[in-house]
Symmetry: C2
Subunit: 397 residues, 2 copies
């Protein structure tokens, strides 16, 4: 029996060769939706992410979290007996996920054509930097490279400062999300028609898709969007302002709200000045208006202004750090932090599922990422796999 995981993908089995982040983030989302995800890891050390901090009781908390509710079987895909076992597992699988460099699956003898012929109900999803076609297919790609090459970094940071990384490995995460969308769509198609497909997801394609608005601004507006700190390119004020001890975000989506802001600031007349009266005028005179507002806000604390503007019905928001964000009462109310028990690590906390569905319980526990090969016996029992001896050994358990 696999771990019970009610959800819309209940009954779907994913064999998961992915490592580190983009691929594992995809299979994490599938697991959160109820799929049985079985990581197949190389016997020596397994997924590279097992070495990533923060370390908890000598094990990677990073790995434990991104691989929650997944199972682990260690197999050497170059060992004959292990390959036989792997292929028996594929017989029971709906999806095979991998994020090797293009060509590696072919070298292993597991190219799409071969797999498709032998396992006709199997959907295969590949995640790579530039995809499996085109002149850049062979190039290595890191999240940082993708943030640079795609244009993402050129859009992030202060207007007069250096380009910045979006605060997370967004190219990895976004690609994992697009891959999960594609896998689920392919499953819909298979359920409806019986046909399966190979899916070739590229981080570069996914980043461009994510950059929909600035790409459109260039393709249809002939304009190259540049970074502008916290400012929205076409609404003002709609950004962060400095206070005496931090920042607050003010969002004036229309002239009426801007008038409320001016009144609250004690300068009702600003809303009547031609250069600030409309959103277009405010965008065109951003530096002056920014300084006028900032000069007032710098006189008092963030806490003061949050309370003051809330009472004045001006849309205001704090800039939370991660700890503050997780203390928001909505986080507990929505089960967005759940508990995970482990015999070694004790009780940990990990993220809950963002997929809230009326037909399924919002489960408030998880199993943290498995130890290497932890689920070998159970998976083999479930799939009726008998080891013939000669299989590779896990050295570092």
């Amino acid at each position: 029996m696999s771990i019970p995981k009610p959800g819309p993908l209940n009954g779907i089995t994913v064999i998961d060769l992915t490592r580190v982040l983009a691929g594992p983030y995809c299979s994490l989302l599938l697991a959160e939706l109820g799929a049985r995800v079985i990581k197949v890891e190389e016997p020596d050390l397994g997924d590279d992410a097992r070495q990533y901090p923060p370390m908890v009781q000598g094990r990677s908390g990073y790995f434990a979290s991104v691989n929650r509710n997944k199972e682990s079987v260690a197999l050497d895909l170059k060992n004959e007996e292990d390959r036989r076992i792997f292929e028996q597992m594929l017989k029971h699988a709906d999806v095979l996920a991998e994020n090797f460099r293009p060509g590696v699956m072919q070298k292993l003898g597991y190219d799409w054509e071969t797999l498709h012929e032998r396992f006709p109900k199997l959907i295969c999803v590949s995640v790579s930097g530039y995809g499996h076609t085109g002149p850049a297919a062979h190039l290595p790609a890191y999240d940082m490279v993708m943030q640079g090459v795609s244009g993402m970094m050129s859009l992030t940071g202060e207007a007069d400062g250096p380009p910045c990384r979006a605060g997370i490995s967004i190219a990895d995460s976004a690609t994992g999300m697009f891959a999960a969308i594609a896998v689920n769509a392919a499953l819909v198609h298979r359920e409806r028609t019986g046909e399966t497909t190979k899916i070739d997801m590229a981080m570069f394609d996914c980043m461009l898709s994510l950059l929909e608005t600035p790409v459109n601004q260039y393709l249809m507006g002939d304009e190259i969007t540049h970074r502008a700190g916290s400012a929205h390119p076409s609404i003002m004020p709609f950004e962060a302002f400095p206070t005496a001890d931090g920042h607050v975000i003010l969002c004036c989506g229309n002239d009426r709200t801007f008038r409320s802001l001016c009144k609250a600031l004690g300068y009702s007349d600003w809303a009547d000045l031609e250069r600030f009266a409309t959103n277009v005028a405010r965008v065109n005179n951003r530096p002056e208006l920014f300084e006028l507002i900032a000069a007032v806000l710098r006189t008092r604390s963030t806490a003061h202004w949050l309370d003051y503007f809330t009472r004045a019905e001006v849309p205001v928001s704090p800039i939370n750090n991660i700890a503050q964000a997780l203390q928001h009462p909505q986080v507990a109310a929505r089960n967005m932090i759940v508990e995970a028990d482990d015999s070694v690590q004790g009780t940990s906390r990990v993220l809950g599922s963002p997929f809230k569905m009326s037909a399924f319980a919002d489960v408030t526990t998880r199993r943290i990422g498995p130890e290497l090969d932890q689920d070998r016996a159970q998976v083999f029992a479930d799939f009726g796999i008998v080891e013939n001896g000669g299989a590779s050994k896990v050295r570092s358990r």
Copy 2:
């Protein structure tokens, strides 16, 4: 006949009440996968995004792009005849998507319980700021607010500078992506069991899910991640460095690559210094090492260093702006820019699909976002809907 759109969601019909970005980005992804997406818009002005720049021939390029390959029918959901038509459309639908404030669907008489009873095969997906449950459910939410509240902005920007917006409306886009994952999973479940569900997606939940790594760093590592410009929190050098005329990204994922970098810079001895010899040492001595590398890189142009490090086999990358990113030869090779014809706007260019699947053609044309009510006759013909008179009129076509 609907627009032919080969793809895994062929045959799936989405009735789409969403406006602006998070919801429409979800239905855009479903349309790219082959679903028939029919926007139902209010008759006066339709989707607010129809007013958003860039304007092309008096129409919104922003709308034209995000709503490519969707159809439009204008209906006033408070008008009795229009409601009858809407309900006839729902009979033919697989998915109903909406991103109203929580409570609006109830007021319209279209709460989940009612819809589920009348249209048992219909899946409903709601997208809102804080979700439909919890103490914050009623609060308004903008992308900027979500970037602030979730912690995203606290992670983005220079270490000693103000918090920055990730260069795009990432909370909107990510929520649209998570919603698309959920819709597809719910379709898989419906195909397998016949059961449908209401999906309640919150921008806040989705942003926390996207912040997997820093959230884990806090929950398991007791550490609050802070913004650090372009630097990776735990690898060095793995960031942007200034050149004489811009920046380049250098990625040294291990000591061997760092040694190659030092040699290429003409300072092989750096790799032998105790304070730079290991990745941990380099992270701990980041400011000194950054300045040493930057001092060399500032002497020559970006173009020089890209060529130089490529030949030296040191992972290097440019920081492209949007125009440069789209000129990458891989973009054309992967059909990531496609053409869209329109009788008014002429030929435009829009993004292609990131979903590359062997079973489906990678279509290289699109229809741009529809004019308000453009597809009324066709949709009614397809669904056998006859107007009885008394329906609302579209004023601004």
